[in-house]
Symmetry: D2
Subunit: 355 residues, 4 copies
């Protein structure tokens, strides 16, 4: 395949200043493959990156954000045999250094050499260039081959699915028949509800404010959806669980009240996962943790190679991410895409760019 010298890429030139410009196609280093980017999803963390920048990012004027993407392999470094030209792949953004104690123990999303390119760490779309471009280079540690029947658009949601699964891994997986409460019907929340059911949960309860999103959650496996503006969520969940509370609570909204509610509706010995983005401190009743013998964990991103676990589920249709993909745009319209996403225009959930 002919690889051009230059490509179109969305480059951050300053706070809030994202422009599609011409840039050189990346050169490969050892262990890397060059991808023709096919589909890339806007992540909930992207708007803050665009508006504020990120401490470890490449310089303004060079930084290409974007970290939830799929592509076609068009070139590989000489040492790469894990993928071949023409392979369809999804990427995960975290590539650990592979040499710190965390990486050596499999905890690469908390690599101790974060941002140190010279140690081998990469965080595509954050501390390294990412996928809002026609081409991107990625290390094989971040590549997951897509079966034929997973589309590029669907594959772009694998990082989200992988994060949900890592959250479940960290709380000891979903156990058969458990009641699972998911708070916050964003992409993470809806997939948390969906995957809980796929992993054998009993009753899945999804809470939120937006009826359209709750409806998608219901379509994807939530048994009960609760609009927190209309019902007393805690009381309703206690009623739905015979007064015991839920075995698992996944808090995805980032809302301080929801975080408190999570402790309220967790049953004794329950497990809580904080999967939201918490911009501020939250006043938590810690005594409930002690008296309730609770466990609290949180997934730092898509660790432990969990995208790979999601692949068979997505390939055979058990995992259905299509209802989350509400909009697609070409790269040139990336700023419109961001507006659509942040303002939730047209019920936007996941907005996809096709470079």
């Amino acid at each position: 395949m002919e690889i051009p010298e230059s490509m179109k890429a969305a480059v951050l030139f300053g706070r809030g200043d994202l422009r599609v410009v011409e840039r050189p196609v990346p050169k490969l280093e050892a262990g890397e493959a060059l991808l023709k980017v096919e589909s890339i999803a806007i992540c909930g963390s992207d708007p803050a990156i665009i508006s504020d920048g990120f401490p470890y990012q490449p310089p303004m004027g060079e930084f290409i954000p974007g970290h939830e993407f799929t592509g076609t392999v068009v070139e590989v470094a000489p040492d790469v045999s894990e993928v071949s030209l023409g392979d369809r792949v999804a990427i995960e953004p975290h590539k650990g250094c592979g040499r710190c104690v965390n990486c050596l123990r499999g905890l690469y999303t908390t690599c101790l050499n974060y941002g140190k390119n010279e140690k081998g760490h990469r965080h595509y779309g954050w501390s390294s260039n990412g996928g809002y471009a026609e081409y991107a280079s990625c290390h094989v540690n971040c590549l997951h081959k897509l079966p034929d029947n997973i589309s590029f658009d669907e594959g772009a949601l694998l990082t989200t699915a992988g994060t949900v699964l890592y959250g479940y891994e960290r709380l000891g997986w979903i156990r058969p028949g458990e009641t699972v409460v998911v708070m916050g019907p964003g992409a993470i929340g809806i997939l948390s509800a969906h995957l809980a059911k796929i992993l054998g949960a009993g009753k899945v309860i999804l809470t939120g404010t937006r009826e359209d999103r709750l409806a998608i959650g219901q379509q994807l496996g939530a048994d009960v959806t609760l609009n927190i503006g209309q019902v007393d969520v805690c009381q309703t969940i206690m009623n739905l669980t015979g007064g015991l509370g839920a075995e698992v609570v996944v808090e995805c909204s980032g809302n301080p009240q929801a975080a408190c509610d999570a402790l309220e509706v967790a049953r004794k010995n329950g497990r809580i996962s904080f999967t939201g983005i918490y911009h501020q401190g939250v006043n938590l009743p810690l005594d409930r943790i002690v008296q309730g013998n609770l466990s609290i964990t949180a997934p730092k991103a898509e660790g432990m190679w969990n995208l790979e676990r999601a692949l068979p589920l997505l390939a055979d249709g058990r995992l259905n991410v299509k209802p989350l993909i509400t909009h697609t745009y070409p790269l040139e319209e990336i700023n419109t895409a961001f507006d659509t996403f942040t303002q939730r225009i047209g019920g936007a959930i996941k907005v996809i760019i096709r470079p």
Copy 2:
């Protein structure tokens, strides 16, 4: 409800001498409920109990076997509020003493006071009377309320499902997308394959010799079935797993060769569950355990209250045990039922008695 003084019961009078006779309806002790037995499944362990007796059993002439059953609550002891008259329930056979260290740590299927009725231990149909009768008394620790849409016949398979789930609990649950090999398509094996898929497994491979049973496994979620008389099972599994082997192997056949194969087809870091009945020693290549960083566990019966976990799955139809129920008989024909079961007449898998 009127409870008669006497009832019909299948009583073991001597080795292989099971007769349906009149017996007094059991009197309740504290914590117990009296059940009108509705449906009881012959367990793979029952024929040996009938033919050989069991060391801890009640005396010949008094012993009523049978331990996989459902019934309707017709009387409760004064301290019982967990179930009410008319409740439809499934039982699990192990009731721990509740006071040994194993019971106190939740390991009641390995109660250290096994067979000591005076300490509160019961093993219905083994060391205490069971369910091949019109009535049976059971402790509330062994009762699981059936939702309306679970039939008594289906509920009689909950102990099997609970054993499968306890096996999965002990090997760290099925993790999403894992390849699971199940050896031996008996009731345990078929439900192992079926439940693996329900819990999020990727590829499920079921091996055995009987095509009719393999076909049921396929109907219930096995992606691949292998007839060990026709293919080289180990080689085929290695081929199906890219040469790596399976993450999880559940050996349910009790066959020594299969037990060895389990170690052969487990991938590095794989988890193996021995769920069969092993009448003899098995010559195992232990070096594979060390070199392969393998883990081996086995479920001692339906521990950790796992029947309860199966209930929501059975209630909403994800778990489908109907294809396993091949025959039903009235209590009077119990010996015919046993013949059908042991000789696998008419493709018998689970044979149900309806007293």
Copy 3:
């Protein structure tokens, strides 16, 4: 042994009104032993019970508090063979109902039938009568036989040790060489530091305000003690851990600032145990949990039969509780004992009553 009809007991007659009066010696129920109480420690939770009462307690005028005690078996119910007359025993206060799902899964300190005597639940010194008396009856589920070389006074601290160990069980045990920070040098905190070292911790750091207590912690294995009034604790811990933070943090002080500091000084993937009493909400930076891939647990009391685990350590001298026992009083002086304890007179840590 001659058992009298009546005994001296400290009875709560109203809020703050604890009086030593004559009461009948308890009659045994099934599963119980009668103990001549030898030694009972004041727990940090006792003063609140005395001053405020407890929602589930026996009626005022009948309630005998006290729940950390040892005694000599002087009578056993007919079904009891676990202990014999003359046995020296320590008790743990939680006796689960043995029939709820939590108890069946070994989680008896979070029994769902809390306070329901008719279901078999007991919480000695809380919802049932306890040990501030000459005699007390206890169920065998709560008795741990003392080896000869453990004194009754030492044995009275086993519930504290059991709670510390359950906390470690819930956070996945201490792993060899780990750096452990313990905040709050009360009895729980000092034993947390001491036991961490006994279980193979590397560096143990104990923080607090009272130099005398910190000194005892150092005597019992803390490598570093930090007076939070004199140093910047978080900064010092980061310095002591090469900027990484501690693998394990055990927060025992109940202080809101310390709870926040726990999240601050936990390294990525660290495990935090909240073991304090938190009277109010605490404003926690939840984002640290997510970004740091942290785990938070808490022990609800001395679960999973952990007193038994402490016995060999106490018997062979590895676990040394003597430095914690600062005062002993006869039963008649119980109110003086409480004053000594609450006002920390003479550096009081554990104050023992010998009825």
Copy 4:
């Protein structure tokens, strides 16, 4: 520091033909440090490597075996900042590729790219050159800095300690007060007994045939030693455990009978670790695994960076490996050293070469 062009090295020229010859000092690749080898221990696996070769080894005439060593850093590759010139280090032999799914999940001792140097895998002294030489190059992933008070000879036993700890990690760590049986008082066995105690075990029972080794085990913490030639080991262990058996059994002898005994003396719910070298199949009573709810694991070498966990224990003297170091030889006498080791001359346990 002046680094010479050539060095003395023990090179394998053919089966059993190990000669000390001149070889070029290794050149560094990225991520590597050059060590002046100070101390290297003969591993129980070395004699077979020398006598038979190893399938993945470098060519005869080039292969330098040896994989348990310490050294001084004398040069580092440009990207290496983890260690500095003059640092005293211990090495672990497994360096995973860092890019297969096993490595990405922290399971580098079961790297799927075993023996593929081009993928970054190294197994020093096995598939790559090792430490029976004056100099050796090692990747930083395999280096552990030695505190000053750990001698080079002691540090050479860290791989053994790391393997023992990984074995304990895989069986869920030693829990406080547990009875641990260790079979086979070689270096692994003695350290298993020693470390069990350091991690909080209760009674530690060491079994074997050689009284001198059992005596060292006793010196290092075994409470009971049993000479299997003199007592009925299984019966004695059952007697010592009140008829229940041991919570943990670590089989280190590689003896088939011992492997069977391990299942015999494990208590219900017990955990067994096979840590021996099993040259042949072992006839195991699998039914005991099922009926006893047993768990079996095995450590594949020193995984999960467990050498690091051993460092604080060795540094502060809790872990004492000195009694295991029975002989030291210069490199020139390596063949004498091997004879001493294999024939156990003079009670040889660990034999050290100082190049």
